[in-house]
């Protein structure tokens, strides 16, 4: 068992400078960098929340912060980053995420219905022996997406199941997958996920299975310890990889990291913790505001989600309404809608004020990025700050707090000599609306980003398919097969054109053109002695389409066609 024990011991893989060759570290080029020394000059350096140096310089060498201050001498062989008017912060740490972790392939495991009650542990989502480390992929899009935002490290966990495996601390960059690893087997990741059609399928199954496994592991590890101490006369313990993987949470050497989004998930995690007594942290919490006293009572640190419901600007809408119908009495349904909207706004507000409340109630928290889309991260963060979280606390929740919760304070979280050179440089204060991240340093490696260009104005509802061109079609009707040519001119949303009909040799103007995704529909009037209206609907897939031709009183008939290539 000694071998196993060593596996469970938390292994710190601080990257030893010099052992790793500096080849291909730069993102955009295969050329190796000319130097591994950087000097960020003349910047506003936010060393730690509330601690700022104006016009300071940071010296980086071999991935380590060598010096920070206002009077640092820049060596001649350093690459100087002129950071006039820029702001430097410690790189952000995601408290819980799947950044850099591959999704397991969907296995179409032979559906043996007889085993729904007794699936394998793997099928049941019980793989505590897995580690995120084994699933890392440095070129996963998430690594780049979050690095762009200023994240340099993450507590990354495996996907899927109630016990998907252990979490790994990674940095968001590296030469290969394993380069990312900072610290392995830091937490036992857990979630209330049913196994989908087999036991445990529902949350009640998951809760019961969690208790059962924990107590089994507790019993087994107890016996194992006795056996290790004096095996003479004792039955050999039955090996069980699943239970053995849980020993460190039973012995409280490893913390359980529970994903708990909703209020009820939070309370359920607390119930399990209370029943079983493991060490716990809560992650990706979305609805925790009513659970603050309960969370406080457990002492568990929290990572709050930044995946928030869309913020709605209430006031503006009202103003508009007032202008339009100042005199009209609101109808009952308008009053109802208004009341409901107000409740909805109030509810949405809860999500945005939550971090501020956690802060003022003294609950230790950071942010997690499991669900938030990277494009929404900054918008949501700034809204959270607007709703009562101070900038310092926000910065702490992105740097010092996760570092402290995850036991990384000696490595990261602040800009101090000797720590890993994980930095984010923005062109103005990060917590202002127009800030752009310009540089991110991950373990001393520099990533450059362009300042965002002003958004182009989008054409109205312009997402439709580009169908302009000449389309040949055929159609089958009970009267026989027809054919002809559809000519579409203009841009999506603004098409005009003609359709020719082999039936009577006519060419007709089309009208009422509508574009919806890849569907284009229009109608035209066909003179058959009496004028009839024909509706056409085309589902366009590249250069071909399938669709229908409908005549009100006669029915719908299939049609298909293709685009003439020379257009």
């Amino acid at each position: 068992m000694r071998k196993r024990d060593s596996l469970f011991r938390s292994v710190i893989l601080t990257l030893l400078i010099g052992l790793v060759p500096f080849i291909g570290w730069s993102q955009d080029s295969d050329l190796k960098p000319v130097t591994n020394k950087y000097a960020i000059k003349n910047a506003t350096i936010v060393q730690a929340p509330g601690k700022t140096i104006q016009n300071g310089t940071i010296l980086i060498e071999n991935g380590i912060i060598k010096a920070v201050g206002s009077s640092v001498t820049i060596p001649a062989d350093a690459w100087v980053v002129d950071a006039d008017s820029m702001f430097v912060y410690a790189g952000f740490i995601s408290g819980l995420s799947n950044i850099g972790v591959k999704k397991p392939e969907d296995k179409d495991g032979g559906d043996d219905r007889k085993l729904t009650g007794t699936p394998t542990d793997e099928r049941a989502g019980i793989t505590p022996g897995n580690s995120a480390r084994e699933m890392l992929n440095v070129s996963d899009k998430s690594v780049d997406d979050f690095r762009k935002l200023g994240f340099t490290a993450s507590h990354s966990v495996p996907h899927n199941g109630m016990l998907p495996g252990t979490g790994t601390i990674i940095i968001l960059g590296g030469d290969n997958d394993q380069d990312m690893v900072v610290k392995d087997q830091v937490t036992m990741y857990s979630q209330f996920s049913g196994a989908g059609g087999v036991y445990p399928n529902t949350v009640i199954g998951v809760m019961a299975k969690y208790r059962d496994l924990y107590r089994k592991a507790s019993q087994a590890s107890d016996y194992q310890n006795k056996y290790n101490a004096s095996p003479n006369g004792m039955e050999r313990p039955a090996p069980n990889a699943t239970l053995e993987a849980l020993y460190p949470i039973v012995s409280k050497q490893m913390t359980v990291a529970f994903k708990a989004e909703g209020i009820k998930d939070v309370m359920r995690a607390i119930v399990l913790q209370r029943d079983l007594g493991f060490k716990m942290m809560l992650g990706e919490v979305k609805q925790g505001w009513d659970a603050i006293p309960a969370i406080k009572a457990t002492g568990a640190p929290v990572f709050l989600s930044l995946d928030l419901p869309e913020w709605k600007e209430q006031e503006k809408k009202e103003d508009k309404d007032d202008e339009e119908k100042e005199e009209k009495e609101p109808t009952e349904s308008e009053l109802e809608e208004k009341a409901l909207q107000e409740r909805q706004y109030a509810m949405i507000k809860n999500y945005y004020t939550q971090a501020g409340k956690f802060s003022s109630n003294g609950v230790k928290f950071g942010f997690s990025t499991m669900e938030v889309k990277s494009k929404d991260f900054r918008t949501n963060l700034l809204k959270v700050i607007e709703n009562g979280l101070s900038e310092d606390k926000a910065l702490a929740a992105l740097t010092t707090e996760p570092a402290s919760i995850l036991g990384l304070s000696s490595l990261m979280g602040t800009i101090e000599t000797g720590k890993m050179a994980n930095l984010v440089v923005s062109d103005t204060a990060y917590f202002t609306k127009d800030a752009n991240v310009r540089y991110v340093f991950v373990d001393g490696i520099k990533y450059d980003f362009e300042a965002k260009k002003k958004k182009k104005k989008k054409s109205s509802d312009g997402e439709g398919v580009d169908a302009a061109g000449v389309w040949n079609y055929t159609t089958e009707t009970p009267q026989g097969n027809g054919s002809g040519v559809i000519t579409l001119k203009g841009t999506p949303g603004d098409y005009s054109g003609t359709i020719s009909v082999s039936f009577n040799g006519s060419t007709n103007e089309i009208e009422n053109v509508e574009v919806d995704g890849n569907n284009v529909s229009f109608s035209f009037k066909l003179n058959m002695g009496e004028e009839i209206t024909v509706d056409i609907s085309m589902d366009i897939d590249g250069d071909t389409f399938e669709g229908t031709l409908s005549v009100a009183a006669f029915g719908s008939f299939p049609m298909e066609g293709s685009k003439e290539p020379n257009n």
Partner: protein, 431 residues
């Protein structure tokens, strides 16, 4: 153990041969005089100490000064009240027997547009549910097919008779499930967009069908119906398009109700709104359109999580107060017998006893165009009535007699039979 198995076997035998078990005796017909009764005529007020004469299936006389014909069977109704038989304006009675067993479900045929499919043809006259329902005073029900856009033609039936034709009560209407923009339930996880698109598509389909039917009607009129090819769907819609037959429009959510009213007006259909669970949200519109409503079930949950808890109870009253002609239905099968309780809850929550009573008697009769035959105690009407110990909505009230088509219905059902057999079971615990 052997004894056990024997018991079980006996039971299984009883169950498998059970469809014949406990036959209910035949009803009795002839001339009846119900005397010394309080009569709630519904249309002509209350008659104290009155007499109702039933003869040839009809109400021959009503009043306090009525001569009892010779040979009439006299039933002393002292302390009792006579009410017209209750009409449930929407059920699947007769089409469904055991709802979880597909072999006993005949309410839902394949096809989206099948207005020619006839509920009446599949009404099972021997359904165990008929006696259970009628002994509670529900003498007449509308039985409706369900399913797609036009799931078929509903029929009004009396709950006594040995063939569907004997049961038929003189009204048929084509059912339309109006395209819904709402979610169908908690499990309906479609996106708002998908729901909207599906509704638009269904509405387009409805308009197409209607346009075809209109065209069919034009041709049919022009050719006097000669040489029209076999087209049963259009043939079934023909009287509806011509306004000679009612269109029974199932619709529930407020937006759909408004859409349906617009559609009805545009197409000039002679329509009835059925279901209408959010009618209170659109009561003014319905009243203005002058379209009658058959609403229910009254005993149901609010349609939206944020609606006041008593909206379903108060819905019928709210519409009626806004000027809508409102009848009440259960939308039930085996529990259609609870119609008086649905009406009772509506009465309690705003409709009042009098209007609630009308909503299960004369109003549905008027909506179905059969008020010359049903819905009140009046001379010349069909003798559908019941005699009670008191207020028919009050839960503990006992119903003493039920007449359907002039037949004196035995007050026996599977439920009463099992009660008789098992109240004091013999043998008891010891054999």
């Amino acid at each position: 153990m052997i004894k056990n198995i024997k018991n079980i076997l006996t039971l299984v035998l009883a169950l498998t041969t059970g469809l014949a078990f406990g036959q209910i005796p035949s009803a009795e017909t002839g001339t009846f005089a119900l005397t010394n009764a309080k009569i709630e005529t519904v249309t002509n007020g209350t008659i104290q100490n009155g007499i109702v004469i039933i003869s040839d299936g009809k109400i021959a006389e009503v009043g306090s000064n009525v001569t009892i014909p010779q040979g009439a069977k006299t039933i002393d109704c002292s302390g009792m009240t006579i009410y017209p038989g209750m009409i449930d304006g929407g059920t699947q009675v007769g089409l469904v027997e055991v709802s979880s067993d597909p072999r006993t479900r005949d309410n839902n045929e394949i096809g989206d547009v099948i207005p020619h499919i006839q509920a009446l043809t599949a009404v099972n006259p021997s359904s165990v549910i008929h006696p259970v329902t009628r002994v509670n005073g529900v003498t007449t029900v509308l039985t409706m097919p369900s399913g797609g856009l036009f799931p078929g033609t509903a029929a009004l039936i009396n709950l006594h008779g040995y063939t569907p034709d004997q049961m038929y009560a003189g009204f048929k209407g084509v059912v339309l499930n109006f395209p819904t923009t709402g979610r169908r339930g908690r499990w309906d996880r479609r996106s708002d967009d998908d729901i909207k698109k599906a509704a638009e598509k269904a509405l387009k389909q409805l308009n197409d069908v209607w346009a075809k039917a209109t065209q069919y009607h034009k041709i049919d009129s022009a050719t006097n119906g000669k040489d029209q090819p076999y087209y049963p769907e259009m043939k079934a819609l023909l009287p509806v398009v011509r306004g000679e037959m009612k269109l029974l429009v199932n619709v529930n959510s407020a937006n759909d109700i408004k859409e349906a009213l617009k559609w009805i007006e545009k197409n000039g259909a002679d329509a009835v709104l059925c279901g209408v669970s959010e009618g209170w949200r659109a009561a003014e519109d319905i009243a203005k359109a002058g379209v009658p409503v058959i609403t229910g079930p009254v005993l149901s949950n609010p349609t939206r999580g944020y609606d006041r808890y008593d909206r379903p109870y108060a819905n019928a009253g709210a519409m009626q107060k806004a000027g809508v002609k409102v009848a009440i239905r259960t939308n039930e099968v085996e529990n259609a017998r609870n119609l008086p309780y649905h009406a009772g809850f509506a009465a309690t929550y705003g409709m009042g006893k009098e209007e609630a009573l009308k909503a299960v008697t004369i109003v549905p009769a008027e909506i179905f165009g059969v008020s010359d035959m049903y819905g009140s105690i009046e001379k010349g009407k069909v003798a559908n009535l019941f005699v009670t110990s008191g207020d028919p909505f009050e839960t503990k009230t006992q119903i003493k007699y039920v007449f359907i088509d002039g037949w004196n219905i035995p007050m026996i059902s599977r439920h009463t039979q099992l009660y008789e057999e098992y109240l004091n079971r013999a043998p008891g615990v010891e054999k």
